[in-house]
Subunit: 389 residues, 2 copies
């Protein structure tokens, strides 16, 4: 029984609206264009979707000019697929080509801007990577001495933070699939099952529930509680007294859910029950604080106050949630350093965590959309008491 | 019935041997150390494995000095897991921290080398990316004016190209799982099935056969033949007369297979049979040419000669195969530009492709290990004639 799926893809109007918003910002910031090269950004402005990004061999470039449609400079292998998007200007080369992997095409495109002494934006700030060889980047900068490079990280991240209704529909769909999958865990998992088989069973169930894939699945199971939340699974069989946590990023049509659930196997200690209850209430506090006008810092503080009942330090994850969309983790961060003001249409995770007992930790996570009147859950809320399998 | 699995992980001797080889090369190249920040390189020298790399939020750094064990500078969330590796020196910070995401820790580590005017290697060449914010990199370079940065791409790529017996065992295992999964396709796929459900069924089968996951799955099905090889699946049902191709990168203990298979649904044209036969024979030519001492260029030429019977241009994928290991695609490339000499222990894909008919293309792929006496298949060889489902 799969949750019924929305339509795949977006109408062209979605991409032209995104581009127009970016162009408004470019004009304000005095930018002649944006040079993008990472998967979520290329997908955001084009609708181009392929798992081929997993191959590190070839760079892909998208130039969003201050006016007009984006221009793709991509390996020839992607031409057929890129021609199915709303783009008209698609320039390709036979890649890989170590001597010139798109660099002369890129130089040709940018040369008139360099000559005019224009400024272009690239993403070089927090949470970004340069998805092309650093050596090629250095060569490009040297070959275009008149070109001014500005940091457009915040601008692009802010555009992507606020989701359209069509995006929210896709995010709601994958969160429903994730919730349906988690609901099945007590039926597909039992004492004695090696944790790596739990992972396989979970992924198979997520696919059966309609996920395109479950690329991200981490978790753990350990006697009395766990101490690490990013491990691959061991082959150790589940035992009575274990606390098990699974945290998944399932994907549908390019959009992610990102949330976790906890279970106890056989029986559970009072300390674990108390940690669970504290995190559940911290999430409630987060839900109440997730209203437009509040900041991520407010959200962080609201959850931290509850967590402090057990753990004044706030754990070692560095934040209590983040943005969600085309990436498993996006801006903003629910942390004391993040003053981002919450807006209608932001999709966020609430992810309180705490340390307890001797070296144990626990995490909780829900996915929400911020609406005018407050938070709406995209995930089926975790039960108020820890489920014992 | 799962292929029986080798042991997970590696003994410490594997990592110390890899490090010692890198250090030999560093001494030859006059390098005081290597600064690495990408998943396969960090995994290669430490054994650290986590899907947390999928979150773009935090950078991870590994410094391999010219003598001694590697030093990790990583987000606090990874400390517990990194302490399970052979490393002793693990320095952490509470990440994310936009103002200082590991940069001052990195600066402290490198300052003595900068003061001494030393050279360190980073990977900035072909097929690399800078997995940290470009702005932080620029800041690091400015803060350490005495430090000389050399390109260590070729050195690290060459180290990783030649696999140890323990690595080959893992690669053989995941290739066996991939082969067993492909063998089941005629049983789990039938006319009328939407292609996206074919993908789900394939992934579920790969998990059932023992894969940790099937992160990479692309493919297509189209009447009389296909024109694109990197698309996500449509929801169009399979029809009689379709040619279907699935290309998967399944993973086990961090190691990938990467190969594809073709099928016809119901019936098949002579042109498609001929294309299939040509690619099958091109692969045979590749298998014969894959001997130590030959170059990737030789391998490319051997396959191209057969492909030229139908397609003198050689298709638009840019190469006819590549290295395989901790990444779906690694160096070297079977292309006219790649003079890499084949060595005992290299694991490679043979991936001939061609264009035929009016705008159709076809791809074939096998995975091999180069041995002293020649190529050994890691995949179960594709049938000599196209299977009709």
């Amino acid at each position: 029984m799969q949750p019924s799926a929305p339509e795949r893809g977006f109408p062209e109007a979605e991409f032209s609206a995104r581009t127009a918003k970016a162009q408004d910002r470019m004009i304000q910031d005095g930018l002649a264009g944006l040079l993008l090269m990472t998967e979520p950004e290329v997908t955001y402005f084009t609708g181009f979707q392929t798992l081929f990004w997993q191959s590190p061999t070839r760079p892909w470039f998208l130039f969003v000019p201050a006016a007009g449609k984006p221009i793709a400079i991509i390996p020839e292998i992607g031409a057929e697929l890129m021609h199915q998007t709303w783009l008209d200007d698609i320039r390709t080369w036979s890649a890989p080509c170590p001597k010139d992997d798109g660099i002369s095409l890129l130089t040709d495109l940018l040369a008139p801007l360099a000559k005019a002494g224009d400024r272009i934006g690239v993403m070089k700030g927090h949470e970004t990577q340069l998805r092309m060889p650093l050596g090629d980047w250095e060569r490009l900068v040297v070959d275009l001495p008149g070109l001014h490079i500005a940091d457009a990280t915040r601008m692009v991240q802010h555009l992507r933070m606020v989701k359209s209704e069509a995006e929210i529909e896709k995010l709601a769909h994958i969160c429903a699939i994730g919730s349906a999958t988690f609901a099945r865990v007590p039926d597909i998992v039992s004492e004695g099952m090696p944790l790596e088989d739990v992972f396989r069973a979970f992924r198979r169930e997520a696919l059966a529930q309609g996920a395109d894939n479950a690329p991200y699945l981490v978790g753990t199971a350990a006697p009395g509680g766990y101490a690490d939340v990013i491990s691959p699974p061991s082959s150790r069989p589940l035992q009575a007294g274990d606390v098990m946590m699974l945290d998944t990023g399932c994907v549908w049509d390019g959009y992610f859910c990102d949330f976790d659930r906890n279970w106890a196997i056989g029986h559970v200690t009072d300390a674990t029950r108390r940690a669970y209850d504290t995190l559940w209430r911290a999430t409630e506090a987060g839900l109440e604080a997730a209203i437009p006008g509040n900041t991520c810092k407010n959200l962080f503080r609201a959850m931290s106050e509850v967590i402090a009942e057990i753990d004044p330090s706030g754990g070692d994850i560095g934040r209590l949630g983040h943005g969600l969309g085309l990436q498993l983790t996006e801006q903003p961060s629910h942390a004391a350093f993040d003053e981002t003001v919450l807006e209608d249409g932001m999709v966020l995770t609430l992810e309180p965590s705490l340390s307890y007992g001797s070296g144990l930790m626990m995490v909780h996570e829900e996915n929400i959309v911020v609406r005018k009147h407050g938070a709406e859950l995209l995930t089926t809320r975790a039960p108020q008491s820890l489920i014992v399998i």
